[in-house]
Protein backbone atom coordinates (compact mmCIF):
# COMPACT_ATOMS: atom_id res chain seq x y z
CA UNK A 1 0.00 0.00 0.00
CA UNK A 2 1.46 3.32 -0.95
CA UNK A 3 1.89 5.88 1.75
CA UNK A 4 0.83 9.41 1.17
CA UNK A 5 3.79 11.63 1.81
CA UNK A 6 3.24 14.65 3.99
CA UNK A 7 2.58 17.73 1.95
CA UNK A 8 5.42 20.16 2.26
CA UNK A 9 3.85 23.55 2.70
CA UNK A 10 5.51 26.89 2.56
CA UNK A 11 5.95 28.44 5.93
CA UNK A 12 2.80 30.35 5.33
CA UNK A 13 1.76 32.62 8.16
CA UNK A 14 -1.95 33.20 8.34
CA UNK A 15 -3.12 36.79 7.93
CA UNK A 16 -4.99 36.91 11.22
CA UNK A 17 -6.48 40.39 10.78
CA UNK A 18 -7.90 39.41 7.40
CA UNK A 19 -9.28 36.10 8.74
CA UNK A 20 -10.94 37.88 11.68
CA UNK A 21 -12.63 40.32 9.35
CA UNK A 22 -13.79 37.47 7.14
CA UNK A 23 -15.16 35.59 10.15
CA UNK A 24 -17.06 38.67 11.35
CA UNK A 25 -18.67 39.01 7.92
CA UNK A 26 -19.71 35.35 7.96
CA UNK A 27 -21.17 35.79 11.45
CA UNK A 28 -23.14 38.77 10.20
CA UNK A 29 -24.35 36.72 7.24
CA UNK A 30 -25.63 33.76 9.29
CA UNK A 31 -27.26 36.03 11.88
CA UNK A 32 -29.11 37.72 9.03
CA UNK A 33 -30.11 34.38 7.49
CA UNK A 34 -31.43 33.10 10.80
CA UNK A 35 -33.38 36.31 11.39
CA UNK A 36 -34.91 36.43 7.92
CA UNK A 37 -35.96 32.79 7.87
CA UNK A 38 -36.54 32.06 11.54
CA UNK A 39 -34.00 29.25 11.30
CA UNK A 40 -32.60 27.29 14.22
CA UNK A 41 -28.99 26.32 14.92
CA UNK A 42 -27.58 29.85 14.84
CA UNK A 43 -25.44 29.27 17.94
CA UNK A 44 -24.06 26.05 16.43
CA UNK A 45 -23.06 28.04 13.36
CA UNK A 46 -21.39 30.80 15.36
CA UNK A 47 -19.25 28.35 17.32
CA UNK A 48 -17.63 26.95 14.15
CA UNK A 49 -17.33 30.11 12.01
CA UNK A 50 -13.69 30.68 13.00
CA UNK A 51 -12.82 27.08 12.09
CA UNK A 52 -14.56 27.37 8.71
CA UNK A 53 -12.81 30.67 8.01
CA UNK A 54 -9.39 29.29 8.94
CA UNK A 55 -10.01 26.29 6.70
CA UNK A 56 -11.48 27.96 3.63
CA UNK A 57 -9.38 31.15 3.61
CA UNK A 58 -6.06 29.65 4.71
CA UNK A 59 -5.56 25.93 5.20
CA UNK A 60 -7.44 24.18 2.40
CA UNK A 61 -5.91 23.51 -0.99
CA UNK A 62 -9.02 24.34 -3.02
CA UNK A 63 -10.16 26.17 -6.11
CA UNK A 64 -13.80 27.25 -5.96
CA UNK A 65 -13.85 27.20 -9.78
CA UNK A 66 -12.96 23.49 -9.72
CA UNK A 67 -15.09 22.04 -6.92
CA UNK A 68 -14.70 18.42 -8.08
CA UNK A 69 -11.00 18.49 -8.93
CA UNK A 70 -9.43 15.12 -8.02
CA UNK A 71 -6.61 16.75 -6.11
CA UNK A 72 -8.69 19.12 -4.00
CA UNK A 73 -8.71 18.96 -0.22
CA UNK A 74 -12.09 17.68 0.95
CA UNK A 75 -13.98 19.41 3.75
CA UNK A 76 -17.05 17.64 5.10
CA UNK A 77 -19.38 19.51 7.43
CA UNK A 78 -20.38 16.47 9.46
CA UNK A 79 -22.39 18.70 11.82
CA UNK A 80 -24.86 19.38 9.04
CA UNK A 81 -27.10 21.50 11.27
CA UNK A 82 -24.53 24.29 10.78
CA UNK A 83 -25.79 24.49 7.20
CA UNK A 84 -26.13 28.30 7.25
CA UNK A 85 -22.44 28.53 8.16
CA UNK A 86 -21.27 26.31 5.29
CA UNK A 87 -23.61 28.03 2.81
CA UNK A 88 -22.30 31.44 3.85
CA UNK A 89 -18.71 30.18 3.71
CA UNK A 90 -19.06 28.66 0.24
CA UNK A 91 -20.88 31.72 -1.13
CA UNK A 92 -18.34 34.19 0.30
CA UNK A 93 -15.48 31.98 -0.92
CA UNK A 94 -16.87 32.03 -4.46
CA UNK A 95 -18.33 28.55 -4.91
CA UNK A 96 -21.68 30.06 -5.85
CA UNK A 97 -23.16 33.57 -6.01
CA UNK A 98 -24.02 35.27 -2.72
CA UNK A 99 -27.48 35.98 -4.11
CA UNK A 100 -28.22 32.29 -3.71
CA UNK A 101 -28.14 32.76 0.07
CA UNK A 102 -31.35 34.76 -0.31
CA UNK A 103 -33.07 31.52 -1.39
CA UNK A 104 -32.19 29.73 1.85
CA UNK A 105 -35.22 27.67 3.04
CA UNK A 106 -37.40 29.16 0.28
CA UNK A 107 -39.92 26.95 -1.53
CA UNK A 108 -38.32 25.22 -4.50
CA UNK A 109 -34.79 26.24 -3.59
CA UNK A 110 -31.52 24.34 -3.26
CA UNK A 111 -30.52 25.54 0.20
CA UNK A 112 -32.44 23.42 2.68
CA UNK A 113 -31.85 23.53 6.42
CA UNK A 114 -29.30 20.73 6.05
CA UNK A 115 -26.82 20.51 3.15
CA UNK A 116 -28.20 18.56 0.16
CA UNK A 117 -26.63 15.81 -1.98
CA UNK A 118 -25.53 16.57 -5.53
CA UNK A 119 -27.07 20.05 -5.62
CA UNK A 120 -24.45 22.65 -4.67
CA UNK A 121 -20.77 23.02 -5.61
CA UNK A 122 -18.54 22.58 -2.57
CA UNK A 123 -20.94 20.41 -0.56
CA UNK A 124 -18.97 17.15 -0.44
CA UNK A 125 -21.66 15.16 1.34
CA UNK A 126 -25.23 15.63 2.46
CA UNK A 127 -25.22 15.72 6.23
CA UNK A 128 -27.70 16.41 8.99
CA UNK A 129 -28.04 12.96 10.46
CA UNK A 130 -25.11 12.98 12.86
CA UNK A 131 -22.32 10.44 12.75
CA UNK A 132 -22.29 10.09 8.95
CA UNK A 133 -19.56 12.52 7.98
CA UNK A 134 -16.57 10.70 9.39
CA UNK A 135 -17.26 7.31 7.73
CA UNK A 136 -17.71 9.15 4.41
CA UNK A 137 -14.50 11.09 5.11
CA UNK A 138 -12.78 7.72 5.64
CA UNK A 139 -13.90 6.77 2.14
CA UNK A 140 -12.43 9.96 0.67
CA UNK A 141 -9.18 9.50 2.60
CA UNK A 142 -8.84 5.81 1.72
CA UNK A 143 -9.53 6.54 -1.96
CA UNK A 144 -6.27 8.46 -2.14
CA UNK A 145 -4.43 5.26 -1.21
CA UNK A 146 -6.48 2.85 -3.29
CA UNK A 147 -6.25 4.84 -6.49
CA UNK A 148 -2.47 4.83 -6.23
CA UNK A 149 -2.02 7.97 -8.22
CA UNK A 150 0.18 9.74 -5.77
CA UNK A 151 -2.82 11.70 -4.57
CA UNK A 152 -1.83 13.88 -1.65
CA UNK A 153 -5.09 15.61 -0.85
CA UNK A 154 -6.30 15.92 2.73
CA UNK A 155 -9.75 15.23 4.11
CA UNK A 156 -11.25 17.29 6.94
CA UNK A 157 -14.41 16.45 8.87
CA UNK A 158 -15.90 19.07 11.18
CA UNK A 159 -18.00 17.45 13.88
CA UNK A 160 -19.99 18.66 16.85
CA UNK A 161 -19.42 17.42 20.37
CA UNK A 162 -22.99 16.12 20.55
CA UNK A 163 -22.24 14.16 17.41
CA UNK A 164 -19.62 12.18 19.35
CA UNK A 165 -22.61 10.46 20.99
CA UNK A 166 -23.04 8.41 17.83
CA UNK A 167 -21.45 4.94 17.78
CA UNK A 168 -20.63 5.26 14.09
CA UNK A 169 -18.13 8.02 14.97
CA UNK A 170 -16.09 5.58 17.03
CA UNK A 171 -16.38 2.80 14.44
CA UNK A 172 -14.95 5.25 11.94
CA UNK A 173 -12.27 6.47 14.35
CA UNK A 174 -10.95 2.92 14.83
CA UNK A 175 -10.99 2.23 11.11
CA UNK A 176 -9.05 5.40 10.30
CA UNK A 177 -6.28 4.62 12.77
CA UNK A 178 -6.09 0.94 11.77
CA UNK A 179 -5.69 2.01 8.13
CA UNK A 180 -3.23 4.78 9.05
CA UNK A 181 -5.22 7.46 7.25
CA UNK A 182 -2.69 10.21 7.92
CA UNK A 183 -4.40 12.45 5.34
CA UNK A 184 -7.53 12.57 7.51
CA UNK A 185 -8.29 15.24 10.08
CA UNK A 186 -11.22 15.60 12.46
CA UNK A 187 -12.08 18.88 14.10
CA UNK A 188 -14.50 18.61 17.01
CA UNK A 189 -16.33 21.87 17.63
CA UNK A 190 -16.33 21.34 21.39
CA UNK A 191 -18.78 24.00 22.58
CA UNK A 192 -19.88 21.85 25.56
CA UNK A 193 -23.56 21.94 24.60
CA UNK A 194 -25.78 19.64 22.64
CA UNK A 195 -29.33 20.37 21.53
CA UNK A 196 -31.00 20.31 24.94
CA UNK A 197 -28.30 19.89 27.58
CA UNK A 198 -24.64 20.11 28.54
CA UNK A 199 -22.71 17.53 26.49
CA UNK A 200 -20.86 15.95 29.37
CA UNK A 201 -24.02 15.59 31.42
CA UNK A 202 -25.72 13.79 28.54
CA UNK A 203 -23.14 11.23 27.50
CA UNK A 204 -19.74 11.61 29.02
CA UNK A 205 -17.27 12.81 26.42
CA UNK A 206 -14.60 13.90 28.84
CA UNK A 207 -11.70 13.35 28.54
CA UNK A 208 -12.34 13.93 24.85
CA UNK A 209 -8.78 14.49 23.65
CA UNK A 210 -7.63 11.37 25.45
CA UNK A 211 -10.54 9.42 23.92
CA UNK A 212 -9.38 10.25 20.41
CA UNK A 213 -5.79 9.55 21.36
CA UNK A 214 -6.72 6.17 22.79
CA UNK A 215 -8.50 5.39 19.51
CA UNK A 216 -5.16 5.72 17.76
CA UNK A 217 -5.23 9.35 16.66
CA UNK A 218 -2.79 12.19 17.20
CA UNK A 219 -5.12 14.39 19.22
CA UNK A 220 -4.59 17.99 20.24
CA UNK A 221 -6.64 20.55 22.12
CA UNK A 222 -6.76 23.95 20.49
CA UNK A 223 -8.60 27.19 21.04
CA UNK A 224 -11.24 27.06 18.32
CA UNK A 225 -11.53 30.84 18.29
CA UNK A 226 -7.79 31.55 17.97
CA UNK A 227 -8.20 31.81 14.23
CA UNK A 228 -4.47 32.00 13.51
CA UNK A 229 -3.76 28.91 15.59
CA UNK A 230 -6.57 26.97 13.91
CA UNK A 231 -5.35 28.04 10.46
CA UNK A 232 -1.81 26.89 11.21
CA UNK A 233 -2.97 23.63 12.80
CA UNK A 234 -5.13 22.66 9.82
CA UNK A 235 -2.49 23.69 7.29
CA UNK A 236 0.04 21.41 8.97
CA UNK A 237 -1.99 18.22 8.43
CA UNK A 238 -0.66 15.57 7.94
CA UNK A 239 1.71 16.02 10.81
CA UNK A 240 4.41 13.59 9.73
CA UNK A 241 3.24 10.64 11.77
CA UNK A 242 1.22 7.82 10.23
CA UNK A 243 -1.81 8.64 12.35
CA UNK A 244 -4.96 10.58 11.55
CA UNK A 245 -5.19 13.90 13.37
CA UNK A 246 -7.94 15.11 15.70
CA UNK A 247 -8.24 18.69 16.89
CA UNK A 248 -10.47 19.14 19.90
CA UNK A 249 -11.35 22.76 19.34
CA UNK A 250 -12.58 24.42 22.51
CA UNK A 251 -15.31 26.79 21.43
CA UNK A 252 -18.17 28.84 22.78
CA UNK A 253 -21.65 28.24 21.44
CA UNK A 254 -22.97 31.52 20.01
CA UNK A 255 -19.43 32.98 19.86
CA UNK A 256 -19.12 36.60 18.82
CA UNK A 257 -22.39 37.97 20.17
CA UNK A 258 -22.35 38.62 23.92
CA UNK A 259 -25.99 37.85 24.54
CA UNK A 260 -25.84 34.56 22.62
CA UNK A 261 -22.58 33.20 24.01
CA UNK A 262 -22.95 29.99 25.99
CA UNK A 263 -26.75 30.44 26.12
CA UNK A 264 -28.24 27.25 24.70
CA UNK A 265 -31.59 28.90 23.95
CA UNK A 266 -29.86 30.04 20.78
CA UNK A 267 -29.68 26.44 19.60
CA UNK A 268 -33.26 26.99 18.40
CA UNK A 269 -33.98 30.74 18.69
CA UNK A 270 -33.71 33.18 15.81
CA UNK A 271 -32.81 36.83 16.49
CA UNK A 272 -35.26 39.74 16.21
CA UNK A 273 -34.48 42.73 14.01
CA UNK A 274 -33.33 44.63 17.07
CA UNK A 275 -31.05 41.81 18.14
CA UNK A 276 -29.56 41.68 14.65
CA UNK A 277 -28.63 45.38 14.93
CA UNK A 278 -27.03 44.83 18.33
CA UNK A 279 -25.16 41.75 17.16
CA UNK A 280 -23.81 43.52 14.08
CA UNK A 281 -22.59 46.40 16.24
CA UNK A 282 -20.72 43.98 18.49
CA UNK A 283 -19.16 42.36 15.45
CA UNK A 284 -18.02 45.74 14.12
CA UNK A 285 -20.25 45.46 11.07
CA UNK A 286 -22.13 48.42 9.67
Amino acid sequence: MNQISPISRKANTPDVAFLRKQAAELRGEVIGMSHKTGSAHLASCLSCIDILTAAYWHALNIDPAKPTDDGRDRFILSKGHAAMAIYATLAHRGYFPRDLLETYTKDGGKLAEHPPANMLPGIEAATGSLGHGLPIANGHALSAKVKDKGANYRVFALMSDGECNEGSVWEAAMFASAQKLANLCVIVDYNKWQATARSNETLQLSPLREKWESFGWDAYEIDGHDIGAVATALADVPNGSSKPVAFIANTVKGKGVSFMEDDNNWHYRAPTAEEVVKARQELGLS
Binding site: I136, G139, A141, L142, S143, K147, M174
Partner: protein
Protein backbone atom coordinates in the same frame (compact mmCIF):
# COMPACT_ATOMS: atom_id res chain seq x y z
CA UNK B 1 -23.89 -18.78 -4.07
CA UNK B 2 -21.24 -17.15 -1.91
CA UNK B 3 -18.37 -18.98 -3.61
CA UNK B 4 -19.69 -17.87 -6.99
CA UNK B 5 -19.83 -14.32 -5.65
CA UNK B 6 -16.23 -14.38 -4.40
CA UNK B 7 -15.00 -15.90 -7.65
CA UNK B 8 -16.92 -13.53 -9.90
CA UNK B 9 -15.86 -10.51 -7.85
CA UNK B 10 -12.22 -11.55 -8.20
CA UNK B 11 -12.66 -11.69 -11.97
CA UNK B 12 -14.37 -8.31 -11.99
CA UNK B 13 -11.50 -6.99 -9.91
CA UNK B 14 -9.01 -8.34 -12.48
CA UNK B 15 -10.66 -6.32 -15.22
CA UNK B 16 -11.54 -3.18 -13.28
CA UNK B 17 -9.16 -1.55 -10.84
CA UNK B 18 -12.03 0.48 -9.38
CA UNK B 19 -13.47 -2.62 -7.66
CA UNK B 20 -12.91 -2.53 -3.89
CA UNK B 21 -14.04 -5.34 -1.57
CA UNK B 22 -15.18 -4.42 1.95
CA UNK B 23 -15.91 -7.27 4.35
CA UNK B 24 -17.60 -6.96 7.72
CA UNK B 25 -15.17 -9.43 9.31
CA UNK B 26 -16.74 -12.40 7.57
CA UNK B 27 -15.83 -14.94 4.88
CA UNK B 28 -12.79 -16.55 6.42
CA UNK B 29 -10.65 -17.66 3.44
CA UNK B 30 -13.52 -16.87 1.04
CA UNK B 31 -11.68 -13.88 -0.38
CA UNK B 32 -8.15 -15.33 -0.37
CA UNK B 33 -7.97 -15.20 -4.16
CA UNK B 34 -9.22 -11.60 -4.27
CA UNK B 35 -6.76 -10.62 -1.55
CA UNK B 36 -3.87 -12.37 -3.31
CA UNK B 37 -4.57 -10.66 -6.61
CA UNK B 38 -5.73 -7.29 -5.29
CA UNK B 39 -4.18 -6.77 -1.86
CA UNK B 40 -4.62 -3.00 -1.95
CA UNK B 41 -8.31 -3.29 -2.73
CA UNK B 42 -9.52 -5.59 0.05
CA UNK B 43 -10.41 -4.21 3.46
CA UNK B 44 -11.69 -6.06 6.47
CA UNK B 45 -13.79 -3.30 8.01
CA UNK B 46 -14.38 -5.19 11.23
CA UNK B 47 -17.70 -5.59 12.99
CA UNK B 48 -18.62 -2.00 12.19
CA UNK B 49 -21.20 -1.92 9.43
CA UNK B 50 -22.19 1.74 9.78
CA UNK B 51 -18.62 2.79 9.07
CA UNK B 52 -18.25 0.17 6.32
CA UNK B 53 -21.29 1.53 4.49
CA UNK B 54 -20.44 5.22 4.89
CA UNK B 55 -16.87 4.40 3.85
CA UNK B 56 -18.22 2.67 0.73
CA UNK B 57 -20.19 5.80 -0.15
CA UNK B 58 -17.04 7.91 0.24
CA UNK B 59 -15.04 5.54 -1.97
CA UNK B 60 -17.79 5.60 -4.61
CA UNK B 61 -17.82 9.42 -4.54
CA UNK B 62 -14.20 9.19 -5.67
CA UNK B 63 -14.96 6.96 -8.66
CA UNK B 64 -14.33 3.58 -7.03
CA UNK B 65 -16.76 0.61 -7.11
CA UNK B 66 -16.99 -0.70 -3.55
CA UNK B 67 -18.85 -3.83 -2.50
CA UNK B 68 -19.95 -4.24 1.13
CA UNK B 69 -20.45 -7.79 2.37
CA UNK B 70 -21.55 -9.64 5.47
CA UNK B 71 -24.52 -11.62 6.81
CA UNK B 72 -27.86 -10.20 5.65
CA UNK B 73 -29.22 -8.41 8.75
CA UNK B 74 -25.86 -6.82 9.51
CA UNK B 75 -25.21 -5.47 6.01
CA UNK B 76 -28.79 -4.21 5.62
CA UNK B 77 -30.87 -3.38 8.68
CA UNK B 78 -27.94 -2.71 11.02
CA UNK B 79 -26.73 0.09 8.78
CA UNK B 80 -30.01 0.96 7.09
CA UNK B 81 -29.59 4.70 7.53
CA UNK B 82 -26.13 4.64 5.97
CA UNK B 83 -27.56 2.75 2.97
CA UNK B 84 -30.41 5.24 2.76
CA UNK B 85 -28.59 8.50 3.33
CA UNK B 86 -24.96 7.94 2.35
CA UNK B 87 -25.49 5.55 -0.54
CA UNK B 88 -28.99 5.99 -1.99
CA UNK B 89 -29.48 9.72 -1.35
CA UNK B 90 -26.10 10.47 -2.95
CA UNK B 91 -26.93 7.90 -5.67
CA UNK B 92 -23.41 6.49 -5.72
CA UNK B 93 -22.44 3.08 -7.16
CA UNK B 94 -22.11 1.02 -3.99
CA UNK B 95 -23.11 -2.65 -4.18
CA UNK B 96 -24.41 -4.15 -0.95
CA UNK B 97 -24.08 -7.93 -1.01
CA UNK B 98 -25.77 -10.02 1.66
CA UNK B 99 -25.20 -13.67 2.46
CA UNK B 100 -27.93 -15.67 4.19
CA UNK B 101 -31.24 -14.61 2.63
CA UNK B 102 -34.40 -15.36 4.56
CA UNK B 103 -33.94 -18.53 6.58
CA UNK B 104 -30.69 -19.65 4.93
CA UNK B 105 -29.04 -19.43 8.34
CA UNK B 106 -32.09 -20.75 10.18
CA UNK B 107 -29.92 -22.67 12.62
CA UNK B 108 -28.19 -19.50 13.82
CA UNK B 109 -31.45 -18.15 15.18
CA UNK B 110 -33.58 -15.07 14.48
CA UNK B 111 -30.65 -12.66 15.01
CA UNK B 112 -29.29 -14.08 11.75
CA UNK B 113 -32.57 -14.53 9.86
CA UNK B 114 -33.50 -11.97 7.25
CA UNK B 115 -37.18 -11.91 6.39
CA UNK B 116 -37.62 -8.11 6.45
CA UNK B 117 -34.70 -6.73 4.44
CA UNK B 118 -36.49 -6.47 1.09
CA UNK B 119 -39.30 -4.52 2.73
CA UNK B 120 -36.84 -1.98 4.11
CA UNK B 121 -34.62 -1.69 1.06
CA UNK B 122 -37.30 -1.74 -1.61
CA UNK B 123 -38.56 1.57 -0.25
CA UNK B 124 -35.24 3.34 -0.85
CA UNK B 125 -35.03 5.54 -3.96
CA UNK B 126 -32.27 4.78 -6.50
CA UNK B 127 -31.66 1.24 -5.16
CA UNK B 128 -31.87 -1.86 -7.36
CA UNK B 129 -32.91 -4.96 -5.35
CA UNK B 130 -31.94 -8.36 -6.70
CA UNK B 131 -32.25 -11.83 -5.14
CA UNK B 132 -30.49 -14.30 -7.44
CA UNK B 133 -32.03 -17.76 -7.77
CA UNK B 134 -28.81 -19.72 -8.09
CA UNK B 135 -25.04 -19.33 -8.37
CA UNK B 136 -25.19 -18.48 -12.08
CA UNK B 137 -27.65 -15.69 -11.36
CA UNK B 138 -25.32 -14.40 -8.63
CA UNK B 139 -22.52 -14.06 -11.17
CA UNK B 140 -24.73 -12.44 -13.80
CA UNK B 141 -26.40 -10.07 -11.33
CA UNK B 142 -23.07 -8.96 -9.88
CA UNK B 143 -21.69 -8.21 -13.34
CA UNK B 144 -24.84 -6.30 -14.27
CA UNK B 145 -24.98 -4.09 -11.17
CA UNK B 146 -21.27 -3.30 -11.23
CA UNK B 147 -21.74 -1.87 -14.73
CA UNK B 148 -24.33 0.69 -13.68
CA UNK B 149 -23.73 4.04 -12.01
CA UNK B 150 -26.22 3.51 -9.18
CA UNK B 151 -26.53 1.63 -5.89
CA UNK B 152 -27.59 -2.00 -5.79
CA UNK B 153 -28.50 -4.68 -3.27
CA UNK B 154 -27.82 -8.35 -3.97
CA UNK B 155 -29.44 -10.82 -1.58
CA UNK B 156 -27.78 -14.22 -1.79
CA UNK B 157 -28.55 -17.56 -0.21
CA UNK B 158 -25.53 -19.24 1.35
CA UNK B 159 -23.51 -22.02 -0.28
CA UNK B 160 -24.20 -25.30 -2.00
CA UNK B 161 -27.66 -24.52 -3.38
CA UNK B 162 -28.62 -26.51 -6.49
CA UNK B 163 -27.76 -24.80 -9.77
CA UNK B 164 -30.85 -24.25 -11.88
CA UNK B 165 -29.23 -22.67 -14.92
CA UNK B 166 -26.92 -24.86 -17.00
CA UNK B 167 -24.13 -22.31 -17.30
CA UNK B 168 -23.38 -18.59 -17.59
CA UNK B 169 -26.46 -16.47 -18.32
CA UNK B 170 -25.51 -14.45 -21.38
CA UNK B 171 -28.47 -12.11 -21.61
CA UNK B 172 -29.15 -11.33 -17.94
CA UNK B 173 -30.83 -7.97 -17.45
CA UNK B 174 -31.65 -6.11 -14.26
CA UNK B 175 -35.44 -6.09 -13.98
CA UNK B 176 -36.01 -8.82 -16.58
CA UNK B 177 -37.34 -12.09 -15.17
CA UNK B 178 -36.13 -15.42 -16.57
CA UNK B 179 -38.55 -18.21 -17.53
CA UNK B 180 -37.15 -21.52 -16.34
CA UNK B 181 -40.02 -23.80 -17.45
CA UNK B 182 -43.12 -23.18 -19.56
CA UNK B 183 -46.64 -24.14 -18.45
CA UNK B 184 -50.33 -23.45 -18.95
CA UNK B 185 -52.27 -23.66 -15.68
CA UNK B 186 -50.32 -21.72 -13.09
CA UNK B 187 -47.42 -19.31 -13.08
CA UNK B 188 -44.91 -19.54 -10.21
CA UNK B 189 -42.94 -16.31 -9.77
CA UNK B 190 -39.97 -17.26 -7.62
CA UNK B 191 -37.81 -14.64 -5.93
CA UNK B 192 -34.28 -15.51 -4.87
CA UNK B 193 -33.28 -18.65 -3.05
CA UNK B 194 -36.76 -20.21 -3.34
CA UNK B 195 -35.99 -21.09 -6.97
CA UNK B 196 -35.07 -24.75 -6.37
CA UNK B 197 -38.33 -25.25 -4.42
CA UNK B 198 -40.24 -23.54 -7.24
CA UNK B 199 -38.70 -25.78 -9.88
CA UNK B 200 -39.44 -28.85 -7.79
CA UNK B 201 -43.00 -27.66 -7.12
CA UNK B 202 -43.45 -27.27 -10.89
CA UNK B 203 -42.48 -30.91 -11.39
CA UNK B 204 -44.82 -32.09 -8.62
CA UNK B 205 -47.67 -30.13 -10.18
CA UNK B 206 -46.91 -31.64 -13.58
CA UNK B 207 -47.16 -35.11 -12.01
CA UNK B 208 -50.58 -34.15 -10.70
CA UNK B 209 -51.77 -32.99 -14.09
CA UNK B 210 -51.24 -29.25 -13.64
CA UNK B 211 -48.80 -27.50 -15.89
CA UNK B 212 -46.74 -24.74 -14.27
CA UNK B 213 -44.67 -21.94 -15.73
CA UNK B 214 -41.72 -21.37 -13.42
CA UNK B 215 -40.09 -17.94 -13.50
CA UNK B 216 -36.95 -16.79 -11.72
CA UNK B 217 -38.13 -13.28 -10.86
CA UNK B 218 -34.77 -12.16 -9.50
CA UNK B 219 -35.30 -8.38 -9.41
CA UNK B 220 -37.72 -7.02 -6.82
CA UNK B 221 -36.95 -3.48 -7.95
CA UNK B 222 -37.38 -2.40 -10.66
CA UNK B 223 -40.16 -4.92 -11.35
CA UNK B 224 -40.48 -6.71 -14.67
CA UNK B 225 -43.93 -5.28 -15.27
CA UNK B 226 -44.39 -6.96 -18.65
CA UNK B 227 -43.81 -10.36 -17.07
CA UNK B 228 -46.42 -9.73 -14.36
CA UNK B 229 -48.94 -8.32 -16.82
CA UNK B 230 -48.56 -11.26 -19.17
CA UNK B 231 -48.81 -13.79 -16.35
CA UNK B 232 -51.96 -12.22 -14.92
CA UNK B 233 -53.43 -12.10 -18.39
CA UNK B 234 -52.61 -15.67 -19.38
CA UNK B 235 -52.90 -17.74 -16.19
CA UNK B 236 -55.75 -18.55 -13.84
CA UNK B 237 -53.35 -18.36 -10.94
CA UNK B 238 -50.10 -16.45 -10.36
CA UNK B 239 -48.12 -17.39 -7.25
CA UNK B 240 -45.29 -15.38 -5.71
CA UNK B 241 -42.69 -17.36 -3.74
CA UNK B 242 -40.10 -15.86 -1.42
CA UNK B 243 -38.23 -16.59 1.78
CA UNK B 244 -39.26 -13.23 3.20
CA UNK B 245 -42.16 -11.81 5.15
CA UNK B 246 -45.47 -11.40 3.36
CA UNK B 247 -45.26 -7.82 4.62
CA UNK B 248 -43.37 -5.63 2.21
CA UNK B 249 -41.41 -8.17 0.20
CA UNK B 250 -41.51 -9.40 -3.38
CA UNK B 251 -45.10 -10.63 -3.14
CA UNK B 252 -46.12 -7.25 -1.80
CA UNK B 253 -44.41 -5.57 -4.74
CA UNK B 254 -46.35 -7.73 -7.19
CA UNK B 255 -49.60 -7.14 -5.27
CA UNK B 256 -49.02 -3.38 -5.32
CA UNK B 257 -48.45 -3.49 -9.05
CA UNK B 258 -51.56 -5.62 -9.57
CA UNK B 259 -53.76 -3.21 -7.63
CA UNK B 260 -52.20 -0.09 -9.12
CA UNK B 261 -52.74 -1.37 -12.64
CA UNK B 262 -56.31 -2.54 -12.16
CA UNK B 263 -55.54 -6.22 -12.75
CA UNK B 264 -57.47 -9.10 -11.24
CA UNK B 265 -56.12 -9.47 -7.70
CA UNK B 266 -58.12 -12.67 -7.21
CA UNK B 267 -55.64 -14.43 -9.47
CA UNK B 268 -52.75 -13.64 -7.15
CA UNK B 269 -51.53 -15.92 -4.36
CA UNK B 270 -48.57 -14.96 -2.18
CA UNK B 271 -46.37 -17.47 -0.37
CA UNK B 272 -43.76 -16.24 2.10
CA UNK B 273 -42.91 -16.21 5.78
CA UNK B 274 -45.44 -15.20 8.46
CA UNK B 275 -45.30 -12.08 10.65
CA UNK B 276 -43.43 -13.94 13.39
CA UNK B 277 -39.89 -14.62 14.50
CA UNK B 278 -38.99 -18.26 13.88
CA UNK B 279 -37.53 -19.30 17.22
CA UNK B 280 -37.04 -23.06 16.82
CA UNK B 281 -33.61 -24.52 16.38
CA UNK B 282 -32.95 -26.48 13.23
CA UNK B 283 -31.71 -25.89 9.71
CA UNK B 284 -33.31 -24.21 6.71
CA UNK B 285 -35.11 -27.37 5.51
CA UNK B 286 -36.80 -27.67 8.90
CA UNK B 287 -37.80 -24.01 8.93
CA UNK B 288 -39.22 -24.22 5.42
CA UNK B 289 -41.21 -27.31 6.35
CA UNK B 290 -42.63 -25.62 9.45
CA UNK B 291 -43.57 -22.49 7.50
CA UNK B 292 -45.08 -24.20 4.48
CA UNK B 293 -42.34 -23.28 2.04
CA UNK B 294 -41.25 -26.68 0.71
CA UNK B 295 -41.97 -27.78 -2.87
CA UNK B 296 -44.54 -30.32 -1.68
CA UNK B 297 -46.38 -27.78 0.44
CA UNK B 298 -46.31 -25.21 -2.34
CA UNK B 299 -47.66 -27.75 -4.84
CA UNK B 300 -50.44 -28.79 -2.44
CA UNK B 301 -51.48 -25.17 -1.83
CA UNK B 302 -51.53 -24.48 -5.56
CA UNK B 303 -53.63 -27.60 -6.27
CA UNK B 304 -56.08 -26.59 -3.52
CA UNK B 305 -56.37 -23.09 -4.96
CA UNK B 306 -56.85 -24.33 -8.52
CA UNK B 307 -59.60 -26.77 -7.61
Amino acid sequence: MRNAFADELTKLGDDDERVVMLSGDIGNRLFDKFKDKHPTRFFNCGVAEANMTGLAAGLAMNGLRPVTYTITPFVTTRCLEQIRTDVCYHDVPVTVVAVGAGLAYAGLGPTHHACEDIAFLRALPNLVVISPGDAWEVRAALRAVMKQEHPAYIRMGKKGEPKIHQGPIENFQIGKAITIAEGRDVCLLSHGNMLPEAVEAGKLLEAKGKSARVVSFHTAKPLDEACIAEALNKFKLVVTLEEHSLIGGFGSAVAEWTVDNGCDTRKLMRIGTPDKFFKESGEQEHARERLGLTAHQIADRVIAKLS
